[in-house]
């Protein structure tokens, strides 16, 4: 790479970091036209991909040879996005037909990005029905980089049971460092003009430099106050671009950071932040030199700095421009304890604090990324009550990859939002904020080299921070795993024990809500989900479960509000359309509901729940063939979607193919063994198959699992009734009457029992109660039951019924035989029904 390209590349990255995709694309195209190198190709493709045009990146990369790992990775990613799974696989691992690369080969080839590559490959395998290979890839990916959550999630979803304790741990330093991008350490330090505390620390690990990216945005902010960085040519700082940085063409496999050694000369003039922050995690980004920045405007305190291997720190004097995005949340002070794992230690390492303290109250320049502070959990679990000490001044922020992954640094705005006391040591912070280790800052002047001790200390801090994060991930992983295996009670338990500031986030609450939903505790679930809506109203994942909960509870107003809100917010999300479909389904407008569910499928053909819901709608409109197809599609997309298995069972039940129904229900039960509703259904089917003993057993099991399920008791009573065990049936029903006093079915069944027992008076009483409770239902069955009772015995069934309605002061509706529904009464009496004698 020649110096020619450096500024252009720097400019492009800067544009990318500012999401100015048009600028980035334009420049990248010019660069590529100028220099047909793979790096420029990759850069252009990255610009396309990030601006949302995966197809452009795909075609571009396909049209040219890609040999570098990052090009290949990007191309594979585009393929997967465009659903060209075979091609993606081919690129990553040599394809189905050719000799495939082993995981080790992939690790060697891709180096740092191996974990992502493997994760992508795992995704491809899972989507193409090779679950074993997929799970292998995921496992390997996790072992390479325990900070990745999505392989873990995918493993849980395909039914594997990865062990969170094993997965989320930092096995070795090697891993630790390899998780982070091998780029130069950039440290952003906040400075006041007054305080020249350029904390810049270079973390040197024994093996490797731990590189982290500082928030370039800090720098960007700096610059923006003055000059637009876009004016690349505007000043001499161009020369600051370190050509050394640009060198890396190869994958910096554990290579030292491409450090700008030349940066030692600190020319604190205009600086520009060129380094991409989270965006620039590619190994190439180091090539974008981080120019020393000078913040002309006061208050801006953060800078990205390059550090050479020699850990010379270049201090860019902060002009006090408010540094907005201070990523670092960890103040030096007492950071040690922040990362202290088991959270017992609350000791503070005062060492580092001092420095930060001294940086004074330039709060505006110390945007702290405020890590969520953990309040000590009430049950005093030994918790990583890492204390995060953020100090105002010097927050050297290191962005590590893990930071980006897990907790996008909270970017405080100009005002310092340090939640922690300024220099306060006492606040326990969440270790997650670890990412930004406040590195020990040594006062830096041009070319000064930070001492080793702080570096190592900083490194330990970093490690401790990561450990804290791991600890959190372990807990969350356990909870999620329990949920995916449908151990819902345990999942709720585990997740409730998370620290409260994590508990009160959308993701966690959604999982808990889903757990309640699977337990059929819809009231609880609704409560939790409405809390989610309150705190994160932009969240759509998980809202489909909320909409189904509301459907079960028949809360049509809430459901329609939800669906309107979601569809307004995001028309491209299947969850929103599922909610809309549920809303109309509740209003019994099945055609419209079908339309919306089909739209959900269009929006995302890999979303299993949409198929399931569509299947249910087809069942309601009696189009059983289409329903069967829908449920099968759902299973194709996600074989562990037990709702779809249930749906198939229901259809077979309707078609009276009871053994098939039982089989499908059983499959659903295998996936979700704690569902009392499923057990109840199986019981009824078994009864239909004449296996009444088994039916009773199953129903007993169901009642044991969930004593609150009234239908289980009801069906048990009906099975007992069918087996002529009237007394026990009655007993069951009496209990049920206490639980659900307004349910007409209960009285109906009681009436039937009494009829069988010969107690006609009681039977009639119950039948009439049943009819009263169900006036609009026009329950022919109930009327039949009454009529049948009387036709052989009584000559005047009608008068008898009328008598009853006189005796019992209920509002009976319509005892007139000819009436079908209360609404047609008036009409009917007017219409002259004439018997035609054409027969």
């Amino acid at each position: 790479m020649t110096v020619l390209q450096e500024p252009v590349q720097a400019a492009i990255w800067q544009a990318l970091n500012h999401y100015a995709y048009r600028d980035a694309v334009f420049l990248a195209e010019r660069l590529y036209a100028e220099v047909h190198s793979e790096e420029a190709l990759f850069l252009l493709a990255t610009c396309y991909y990030r601006s949302g045009k995966a197809y452009k990146a795909y075609r571009l990369l396909k049209g040219h040879s890609c040999t570098t790992p990052q090009c290949k990775y990007l191309l594979a990613k585009c393929c997967v996005d465009l659903s060209k799974l075979a091609e993606g696989e081919q690129i990553l691992s040599g394809g189905v037909l050719n000799k495939q690369k082993s995981h080790d080969d992939i690790v060697m080839e891709f180096g740092d990005s191996a974990c992502f590559t493997l994760s992508l490959l795992g995704h491809v395998y899972c989507k193409t029905d090779r679950l074993a290979k997929g799970s292998e890839c995921y496992q390997k990916s996790l072992s390479l980089n325990p900070f990745l959550w999505s392989p873990f999630e995918s493993l849980c979803e395909i039914g594997e049971k990865p062990d969170p304790d094993q997965t989320f741990k930092l096995t070795s330093l090697q891993n630790f460092s390899s998780c982070l991008p091998n780029t130069c350490t950039t440290v952003v330090s906040n400075h006041n003009i007054s305080h020249r505390q350029p904390e810049s620390v270079l973390m040197e690990t024994p093996q490797d430099t731990i590189v982290s990216f500082a928030q370039e945005l800090n720098r960007i902010n700096l610059e923006s106050s003055n000059s637009k960085y876009s004016s690349l040519n505007s000043d001499s700082s161009m020369s600051y671009i370190d050509s050394a940085v640009i060198s890396s063409d190869s994958v910096p496999l554990g290579s030292g950071t491409a450090i700008l050694s030349k940066q030692a000369q600190n020319k604190p003039k205009t600086g520009r932040s060129l380094l991409g922050g989270p965006a620039a995690l590619s190994p190439l980004t180091p090539s974008f030199g981080i120019l020393p920045l000078e913040t002309p405007s006061p208050g801006d305190g953060s800078y990205l700095q390059n550090y050479t291997n020699s850990s010379s720190v270049i201090d860019v004097p902060s002009t006090g421009a408010p540094s907005k995005k201070t990523v670092s949340r960890i103040s030096q002070a007492g950071t040690k304890s922040v990362f202290s794992q088991s959270g017992n230690s609350r000791e503070v390492t005062p060492v580092l604090v001092a420095q930060t303290q001294s940086s004074g109250p330039q709060t505006s320049t110390t945007p702290q990324v405020l890590s969520p502070t953990i309040a000590a959990p009430p049950n005093a679990l030994p918790r990583r009550s890492s204390r995060l000490f953020t100090s105002d001044s010097s927050t050297t922020k290191e962005n590590s990859k893990k930071l980006k992954m897990k907790f996008p640094p909270k970017i405080p705005n100009r005002k310092t939002k340090s939640k922690t006391n300024k220099g306060g040591i006492t606040q326990p912070n969440l270790n997650d904020s670890l990412e930004i280790t406040k590195l020990d800052s040594s006062i830096i002047s041009e070319g000064k080299i930070s001492t080793v001790a702080p570096q190592i200390q900083a490194f330990t801090l970093q490690k401790a921070a990561a450990e804290g994060l791991m600890s959190l991930l372990r807990d969350m992983g356990k909870g999620y795993l329990a949920l995916c295996s449908y151990n819902c009670k345990e999942a709720i338990n585990i997740l409730s024990h998370l620290p409260s500031h994590h508990y009160n986030t959308g993701w966690v609450l959604c999982q808990i809500g889903r757990a309640y939903f699977e337990l059929a505790e819809y009231m609880q679930a609704e409560r939790i989900f409405s809390e989610v809506r309150r705190i994160e109203n932009y969240r759509v994942e998980g809202m489909e479960i909320y909409s189904t909960t509301l459907w079960h509870l028949q809360k049509d107003v809430a459901l329609s509000v939800l669906s309107k809100d979601l569809t307004d917010m995001d028309k491209n999300s299947p969850e929103a359309w599922c909610a809309a479909g549920n809303c109309f389904s509740l209003q019994r407008e099945h055609d419209i509901a079908i339309k919306f569910f089909q739209r959900a499928i269009q929006v995302d053909p890999n979303y299993a729940y949409a198929y399931t819901l569509l299947g249910h709608e087809f069942v309601l409109t009696e189009e059983l063939d289409k329903a069967l197809a829908c449920f099968r599609n759902a299973i194709r997309v996600n074989p562990r979607h037990y709702n779809a298995w249930y749906g198939l069972g229901m259809i077979y039940y309707k078609q009276e193919k009871f053994s098939l129904a039982e089989m499908h229900f059983q499959k659903a039960l295998d996936i979700n063994p704690q569902s009392s509703v499923l057990l109840c259904h199986i019981g009824v089917v078994q009864h239909a198959l004449k296996k009444s003993e088994k039916a009773l057993d199953t129903l007993n099991k169901a009642i044991n699992i969930d004593p609150k399920n009234p239908l289980c008791k009801f069906h048990r009573a009906s099975v007992l009734f069918a087996n002529e065990k009237y007394k026990s049936a009655l007993q069951e029903l009496e209990e049920l009457k206490q639980i659900v006093p307004k349910e007409s079915l209960v009285y109906f069944l009681i009436g039937k029992v009494y009829k069988k027992l010969g107690q006609t008076h009681l039977a009639l009483m119950n039948f009439s109660w049943a009819m009263d409770l169900d006036p609009k239902g026009a329950n022919n069955q109930i009327k039949e039951a009454i009529d049948k009772r009387y036709l052989p015995d009584d000559e005047e069934p009608i008068t008898r019924e009328e008598q009853i309605s006189e005796c019992y002061p209920y509002e009976s509706v319509g005892t007139d035989e000819s009436q079908e529904s209360s609404m047609t009464d008036a009409d009917d009496t007017q219409l002259h029904a004439v018997e035609s004698d054409e027969f």
Binding site: E743, K776, A778, N780, E820, M823, T824, D827, L831
Partner: protein, 185 residues
Amino acid sequence: MTTPNKTPPGADPKQLERTGTVREIGSQAVWSLSSCKPGFGVDQLRDDNLETYWQSDGSQPHLVNIQFRRKTTVKTLCIYADYKSDESYTPSKISVRVGNNFHNLQEIRQLELVEPSGWIHVPLTDTHKKPIRTFMIQIAVLANHQNGRDTHMRQIKVYTPVEESSIGKFPRCTTVDFMMYRSIR
């Protein structure tokens, strides 16, 4: 003699749908007409819009044929007729016939309308007071008000009872508590 009472309008069938006891199944049937004026045909009869209507264009009786793919239980027929807007086009005598095919129809219901002004609900029951099961329904307009030749019909809906059993052969449950546990969705 007192003038015969006018046919009072019935409730909006949408209400009927909302009870969940019936379902509109006109979409599952093939509709045909004995005659129609261009632009005033089946689509206008089935478009859920009371402003548009079917206008016949032949000799009486005017027929609306509804043919199902399979034998369907039909509970109620709902016809919208409005004397004020249609005057002499308003049907006054309607015969409902059911059967397997065109050659097999039997009249089960005949109704007289006197200046109707809304929805007319026509329950269709067999001799045992249960909803009929049939392949085909034919609605014949035998006469119009003021002896008009052609007829307007604004909307026709066909309802089938919703079979309740999600599970078991029991009638529908009424409380939310039961319904919550009735199915997995």
